[in-house]
C-alpha cells in the first residue's frame, strides 16, 4: 500500500479518428522514423498509434531510438468490440476457402492485444502492457494505470483506448499520466491532477 500522498497528473492528451484520414496520415508521416518497419494493416492500429503519438508529443516525451527502449513506461489500453469485425473477416476467409483461406495478415489482429502491441513496437515501450476489453468508457483501464503509478509499478503510463463508432470509423484517445513531481522536474504542463 502506498505510504504517502501522491499526486498524479495528466501531461499529454491525444485523440484521433480514422474519419480524419488526412490527420492520421500526416501524424504517421511525422513519425516515419519509427514506423518505417511497421506495416499497418487496419485503421484501428493507425488511429491508436496516431493518438499515442499525439499524446506523447503533447507531454513532451521523446523516446530513445529503437534498440535502446525504456521499461519505465507502461501502456494500459481499453478496446470495445472493434476487433470483432476483423475476426469475422478472418473466419469468413476460412469458411470460403478452407484452412488455406486463413489470412496471415489478418490473424494476428484477431487478438485485440495486437493493437497495444503495435503501439509498444512503434514507440519501443518495454514496460507493462495491459489490454482490457470494455464496452463502456475507458475509466477502468485508466484507474488501473493510475494505480500502477501510485504503487510504483510504472513511472509513466500511457492510457486510453480505441472504439468503433460504426461504419468502420474508429476513434482513439490516450492520456499520458505521471507522478506530479516527475512531471514538474522535467518541466511538463499538467492538464489536471488527482491526489491519492
Amino acid at each position: 500500500m502506498p505510504s504517502e500522498t501522491m499526486e498524479i497528473v495528466v501531461t499529454g492528451i491525444g485523440y484521433s479518428s480514422s474519419f480524419d484520414h488526412k490527420m492520421v496520415e500526416e501524424t504517421l508521416n511525422s513519425i516515419r522514423q519509427r514506423t518505417g518497419k511497421t506495416r499497418f494493416i487496419h485503421d484501428i492500429e493507425k488511429s491508436a498509434v496516431t493518438a499515442v503519438s499525439l499524446a506523447l508529443n503533447d507531454a513532451g516525451i521523446t523516446f530513445p531510438l529503437l534498440e535502446s527502449g525504456r521499461d519505465d513506461t507502461g501502456l494500459y489500453m481499453g478496446i470495445d468490440d472493434a476487433v470483432e469485425d476483423i475476426k469475422d473477416d478472418f473466419f469468413r476467409g476460412v469458411l470460403g476457402d478452407g484452412i488455406l483461406g486463413a489470412s496471415p495478415l489478418m490473424f494476428p489482429f484477431t487478438s485485440p492485444n495486437a493493437f497495444s502491441a503495435q503501439i509498444t513496437i512503434v514507440f519501443d515501450m518495454r514496460g507493462e502492457c495491459i489490454l482490457m476489453p470494455v464496452n463502456n468508457s475507458f475509466e477502468d483501464v485508466i484507474e488501473y494505470a493510475v494505480a500502477c503509478i501510485r504503487n510504483g509499478y510504472t513511472k509513466t503510463a500511457v492510457s486510453g483506448g480505441v472504439r468503433c463508432k460504426g461504419n468502420n470509423i474508429y476513434e482513439a484517445e490516450f492520456f499520458v499520466l505521471e507522478n506530479a513531481h516527475a512531471a514538474k522536474d522535467r518541466g511538463a504542463k499538467a492538464y489536471c491532477r488527482r491526489v491519492y
Binding site: K87, F91, P104, S111, F123
Partner: protein, 391 residues
C-alpha cells in the same frame, strides 16, 4: 508484494473429469496426456488435429462450452473458498481470455446469420455473465493480453488486494478450442503433427487445448479472520512488453527476463530461493529457446538448480486460460511438494540446457514457485508464489 493469499482454486481441463483438485493433480503429476487426434469443433472436415479437448456432457452445444467450463471452474473455486453469498457481493472478478466465446460467433457465421452479432461473442461479456450468474458483486474486469491473459488477471487481482482496493478478488482465464484458432495456428505452422515435446531438440510445435481456471485471492487479514486455508502467497507479479514483433517472441527473451526480474525484486527473495518454474513451454522452436535464455538472464547461475517444467506437454495450450491453469499448478507443486513433469522429453537441446523435469514428476519441497507466460504481441508475464507457512 505482501499480504495476498491464494485461498481457493478451481479448474476444468482436458484431463478426464475430476471432482477434486487432488485427483486432477494426481493425474497430471502421473504424466497423463490429454492430447489426442481429434476433429475440429464445428467445421465438417476430414482433417483431424492433435488437440486437448474437454469432454462435456452429451447434448451441450459446442457454442455453450465456453461459458459452461468457465462457470464450472468458478463454482469449484467458490466452493473451495467457503466464501458466503454475502462475501461474494463485495468480491471482484477478473477474467482473462483471448478469443472469448468464439464458437458462438463461428456458429452464426457458419449458419449464415452473421449480420446480427450476439452479445455473447463480445470479449467483455463473460465477466459480466459470470458475475451475474454467481452473484459476484465487486469490480468486474476483462483482460486480453494474448497467452498471458490468465497470468495478468491473477497479477492484477493481487495488486488490487495489495493496494487495499479489495479484500477478495477471483481471477483466472478461460478459452476454448475453435476452428478459428486451428486455422490460424496451422497457417503460422505452429502446430505439431508429432507430439508436444517442450524443450526437446526435436520439438515441432504446440497442440491447442482449452480450459478454465480461477484462483481466489484474498487479503491476508481477511483470510485469517475467517479461517481460510492458504495455497500460497502472491509475492510478485510483473508484465513486460517485448516491443519487438506481433507474433514472434524476442529471440533473447528480453521482455520475459525483465518480467521475471521485476517479480523477484518485489518478493524480497533471491533467485536461488525459487524451486520451481512452470514454464510457458509451448514446444515451438523459438519460444522454448527464448524462455530458457530469459530464465538464465533473470536467475543467473541459480537457473540451473531450478526445476522448470511445461504442463502444456500434457494439457495442450489453453490460450488465455493457460496462465491461470499453470499458476494453479505452481501452487499445487508447493502444496504437495511434487513437481509435474515435462512429458515426451527425449533429446536434449544444447539451446535448452536447464532441468526440465523430464517425463517423471519429482518429489521435493518447493519453497517458492513461479509461473511464466508469453504471448502474441510480445506479451510477457511472471507471477511468483511463496509457500504458506503452515506447510
Amino acid at each position: 508484494m505482501k499480504g495476498v493469499w491464494v485461498t481457493a482454486i478451481g479448474l476444468v481441463t482436458p484431463l478426464r473429469p475430476f471432482d477434486t483438485i487432488d485427483a486432477f493433480w494426481g493425474a497430471l503429476t502421473g504424466g497423463e496426456n490429454a492430447i489426442r487426434l481429434q476433429p475440429p469443433p464445428l467445421l465438417d472436415t476430414d482433417r483431424k488435429w492433435l488437440t486437448a479437448a474437454i469432454e462435456t456432457e452429451p447434448g451441450l452445444r459446442p457454442e455453450d462450452k465456453f461459458l459452461y467450463i468457465a462457470e464450472a471452474a468458478l463454482k469449484m473455486a467458490i466452493a473451495d473458498s467457503g466464501l458466503s453469498s454475502d462475501a461474494l457481493k463485495n468480491t471482484g472478478l477478473i477474467v482473462g481470455s483471448i478469443l472469448g466465446n468464439v464458437l458462438a460467433r463461428e456458429r452464426q457465421l457458419i449458419d449464415g446469420n452473421g449480420q446480427a452479432r450476439t452479445p455473447e461473442a463480445s470479449l467483455s461479456y463473460p465477466v459480466g455473465y459470470l458475475g451475474q450468474r454467481l452473484k459476484i458483486g465487486g469490480q468486474l474486469s476483462a483482460i486480453s493480453t494474448a497467452c498471458a491473459s490468465g497470468t495478468d488477471a491473477v497479477g492484477i487481482a493481487a495488486r488490487r488486494i495489495a493496494a487495499g482496493d479489495a479484500d477478495v478478488v477471483i481471477a483466472g482465464g478461460v478459452d476454448v478450442l475453435s476452428d478459428f484458432a486451428l486455422a490460424g495456428f496451422n497457417m503460422l505452422q505452429a502446430l505439431t503433427e508429432d507430439m508436444v515435446r517442450p524443450f526437446d531438440k526435436k520439438r515441432s510445435g504446440l497442440a491447442l487445448g482449452e480450459g478454465a481456471a480461477f484462483l481466489v485471492l484474498e487479503n491476508e487479514s481477511h483470510a485469517r479472520a475467517r479461517g481460510a486455508k492458504c495455497y500460497g502467497h502472491v509475492l510478485g507479479y510483473s508484465s513486460c512488453a517485448d516491443a519487438s514483433h506481433l507474433t514472434a517472441p524476442h529471440r533473447e527473451g528480453r521482455g520475459l527476463a525483465t518480467a521475471i526480474t521485476h517479480a523477484i525484486s518485489q518478493s524480497g527473495l533471491k533467485p536461488k530461493d525459487i524451486t520451481y518454474i512452470n514454464a510457458h513451454g509451448t514446444a515451438t522452436v523459438y519460444n522454448d529457446a527464448m524462455e530458457t535464455k530469459a530464465i538464465k538472464a533473470a536467475l543467473g547461475a541459480a537457473a540451473y538448480a531450478t526445476h522448470v517444467s511445461s504442463t502444456k506437454s500434457m494439457l495442450g495450450h489453453a490460450f488465455g486460460a493457460s496462465g491461470a491453469i499453470e499458476a494453479l499448478c505452481a501452487l499445487m507443486a508447493m502444496k504437495t511438494s511434487v513437481i509435474p513433469p515435462t512429458i515426451n522429453y527425449r533429446y536434449p537441446d544444447p539451446q535448452c540446457d536447464l532441468n526440465y523435469v523430464p517425463n517423471t514428476a519429482i518429489t521435493t519441497p518447493v519453497g517458492a514457485a513461479m509461473s511464466l507466460s508469453a504471448g502474441f504481441g510480445g506479451q510477457n508475464a511472471a507471477v511468483l508464489f511463496g509457500r504458506p507457512h503452515a506447510l
